[in-house]
Subunit: 139 residues, 2 copies
Amino acid sequence: MKTAKIESLLQKSNVRPTAMRILVYNFLLENEAAKSLTDLENYFDKSDRTTLYRTIKTFEDKGVVHQIDDGTGTTKYALCEQGCNCQIETDLHLHFYCNICDETVCLTDRKIPNINLPDGYTAEDANLVIKGRCEKCPE
Amino acid sequence: MKTAKIESLLQKSNVRPTAMRILVYNFLLENEAAKSLTDLENYFDKSDRTTLYRTIKTFEDKGVVHQIDDGTGTTKYALCEQGCNCQIETDLHLHFYCNICDETVCLTDRKIPNINLPDGYTAEDANLVIKGRCEKCPE
DNA sequence: ATAAATCGTGCAACAGAAGTGCATTATTCA
DNA sequence: TGAATAATGCACTTCTGTTGCACGATTTAT
């Protein structure tokens, strides 16, 4: 994607498009799998950890990326779909973690099914992670 | 529950019932909510962190407790039901995290629904956490 | 019953991820 | 241009999880 395009996308989300932010956005865009802060740190080894940390925090606050807790212990991030509203419960898609290649992907078209909770319980949010073998890791 | 009863339960799981282990088991038994290592550490402030860590690891290896990743970033543990086999996919129940009281409970009778994955994906494990308001935290 | 082997416990130290404070640099706006 | 605001980089801290090693307790074999 062209830099100018990313710039305007960031601006639309009220994120000032600095050089670093455009690079990070592009990195997330080019990778199907969700990336952790450490992944970013390793890739952008010239940049500071804190900058990357705050970049991703800003993205998250402004709805550019969403957090993924895939059970590995390290939080990962993936770009939100255009028009996605990750806060809305009905938009909650599930995530798939591959035990073989250690990558996590969004299955944006698979929503978390409705769960019938016991009396007195109210659902506000949900997180579903399926672990197994992904399409890229044949047996 | 009587100490003798806990002793025999531990022995049945091939865990030698030391004083510490019986205390930890009892603590988990008396608390409906799942507990973290830090919770144990705070409660048993005379005991060492490592001992508690290894106690819970032993329990986990022997199928006495199961791990819960509730998305808070800290792993919690809860006693397995009698006869529960947490490894078996069909036995996977869901967990509920209360945003108000910050406690996590097993909803053992609610199983994770079957998910239809895209072609090429194989499920081996799953984790579903619902977040919201629990029965003890009325509005 | 005693010695050898094994297991449990406690201390110290480490690793990785996440987060904060502060100074410096860059950018925007009046 | 200059003041205000935002972004970046460095150092440091905290929290959770984990390992190595030594000592003490318990079990097992003789």
